[in-house]
């Protein structure tokens, strides 16, 4: 067995490069999350930050599915909507405590996404895109039409979130909840990506045949990651509903799903920080265009087209590649 010279970059004595980068990224994220509130002058800005955090977590989960595993989903906001309305209905009409509503909605979403995944993950490319698009549309239609449960197109109010008698109130309290969850989401997805399970997901993206011969149960892995990302989106939907205080079917619709896809593509496929930074930019963009109704959609379109042309790998991967010092002539 050949022992490795340090030049191979796999030197087990010192910390490998990717471990150092990983902690650098997490430290920067933690620092930003901790000092950010001091720079947010009023609750309006805190609210924007909270919404961006929700968007970022949703985008990270979608990137796990799309960027890493290569399974497109154009209906992902639908799962967010299921969690939101599940919690809203359970707490308002059945007096279920908020945490119970969140968990129950997540379980239902997990089961539903599992059943759906069994059927649609046999599809590939455009067919999978169409099927997930259809799923999102169906969820929106149900939320709009079942007015006796959901309040129809006008939506419905959602009560406060409380656990064990402690109730969350105000943007600033929620900020810390979302900040901690966002940090945890980044850590956990990074862990996953760097584990054998995450490698298997990326491998089946690269070559399903290679992955299956290497021992990866491709069908099961696709289902696992689909159910995981749907369930997390449902949990985010539940929290979001309690935070917003009022929800309508628009939170689950095609525009929201598309926005998530744009964030992933713009920020960078198969990049966790890409999804995060994409969410920050796409999330605060409408604030600058607040006076120009409808122009945010145009801006999204322009950003997406410009990304495809100038940064085909997305913002973060392209910047990372540009900043990385050129390696020696090993390849």
């Amino acid at each position: 067995m050949i022992k490795l010279p340090g030049a191979n970059g796999v030197d087990s004595g010192s910390l490998p490069e990717e471990v150092v980068n990983r902690f650098r990224g997490l430290a920067a994220l933690a620092a930003v999350l901790i000092i950010l509130p001091a720079f947010l002058p009023n609750t309006f800005y805190v609210d924007v930050a909270n919404r961006v955090a929700i968007l970022a977590m949703n985008a990270i989960m979608l990137n796990l599915l799309m960027g890493y595993t290569g399974q497109i989903s154009l209906g992902h906001a639908g799962f967010f909507g299921l969690g939101a309305y599940g919690s809203a209905i359970l707490t308002a009409r059945y007096n279920v405590p908020p945490l119970g509503g969140l968990i129950l909605s997540a379980v239902v979403t997990a089961l539903l996404s599992w059943a759906v995944a069994r059927v649609i993950l046999r599809l590939r490319g455009h067919y999978l895109a169409m099927a997930t698009l259809g799923l999102g549309v169906i969820i929106t239609i149900v939320l709009t039409n079942e007015a006796q449960w959901t309040g129809g197109p006008d939506g419905m109010p959602v009560g406060r979130f409380s656990v064990l008698g402690y109730s969350l109130a105000g943007e600033r309290q929620w900020y810390w909840v979302f900040a901690v969850l966002l940090f945890a989401t980044v850590v956990i997805t990074q862990n996953l990506i760097n584990s054998p399970a995450g490698r298997a997901l990326q491998a089946l993206h690269g070559s399903e045949v290679a992955a299956t011969v290497a021992g990866v149960d491709v069908r099961r892995r696709k289902m696992d990651v689909f159910v995981l990302s749907a369930t997390v989106s449902s949990i985010l939907g539940s929290l979001g509903a309690h935070y917003f205080g009022y929800i309508n079917p628009g939170i689950a619709d095609f525009v929201q799903s598309t926005e998530l896809v744009i964030i992933v593509v713009f920020g960078g496929m198969a990049s966790i920080y890409g999804a995060l930074i994409g969410a920050v930019i796409i999330g605060i963009l409408p604030q600058f265009l607040a006076g120009y109704d409808g122009w945010d959609v145009v801006a999204f379109g322009v950003i997406l087209a410009a990304t495809m042309i100038f940064l085909p790998r997305g913002l973060v991967p392209s910047l990372a590649a540009a900043m990385r010092p050129k390696r020696g002539a090993t390849c």
């Binding site: 796999v10 956990i188 862990n191 996953l192 760097n194 990866v216 390849c331």
Partner: protein, 254 residues
Amino acid sequence: MLTVDHLSKSFGGIHAVQDVGFHIPAGSVYSVIGPNGAGKTTLFNLISGLYTPTAGSVKFEGAEITGIPPHSLARMGISRTFQNLQVCKNLSAIENVMVGAHSRLNSGMFAGMFRFPGIVRSDRACKERAVDLMTQVGCKAYIDAHASAMPYGALKKLEVARALASEPRLLFLDEPAAGLNHTETHDMALLVGELVRLGITVVVVEHDMKLVMNISHRILVLNYGQKLAEGTPEEIRKNPDVIAAYLGGDEDEE
């Protein structure tokens, strides 16, 4: 080690593999030869579970494995490479090799998400082993490379390293020397010999006759999906059917 019985596969009207049977003894180098389109790759796809046979059976160490999915066969100790490269271009070279060890690692989603004890250590060991394997197959120069930046010949070897990472007892190599230069082909032959010494049974599809005759213990000759001959290199060399098919195949031309 492996027994194939009356194995057939047709695609629509094409009988890609027709009623083929043979036995691969443990610890041998077993070669499958035949002209392009003879059904060699299809045979590999059938044995490795990628295709379901139209008829026939495959037994691995006495156990029926027909219909078992490829990912389960990996766990049982069967691995392979591909004639048309199947490399994950979205991963680094070394990650590609590590994917090969998938069934030997704790690959649970929650284990990965929450870094269960041992998972980091075993993954590091896996990485070190991947480095060793890349060195062994002659890919040392690409240990830090991304798969998308590697030339064809190196990817060919990378696939061998990935296949070895699963610790196979039976290894199928589909045209491992195609696209390799003289020295590399020679190295590949040495590698095959080394693998057999390590106790791996190696099955090779190869067009380089000199290489085949040199390294094989037994040879199977396919032609139009059917078994034309089977035996030791000596027997194959003398077989009149093989000589006819290889030297005077005029009657088969359209």
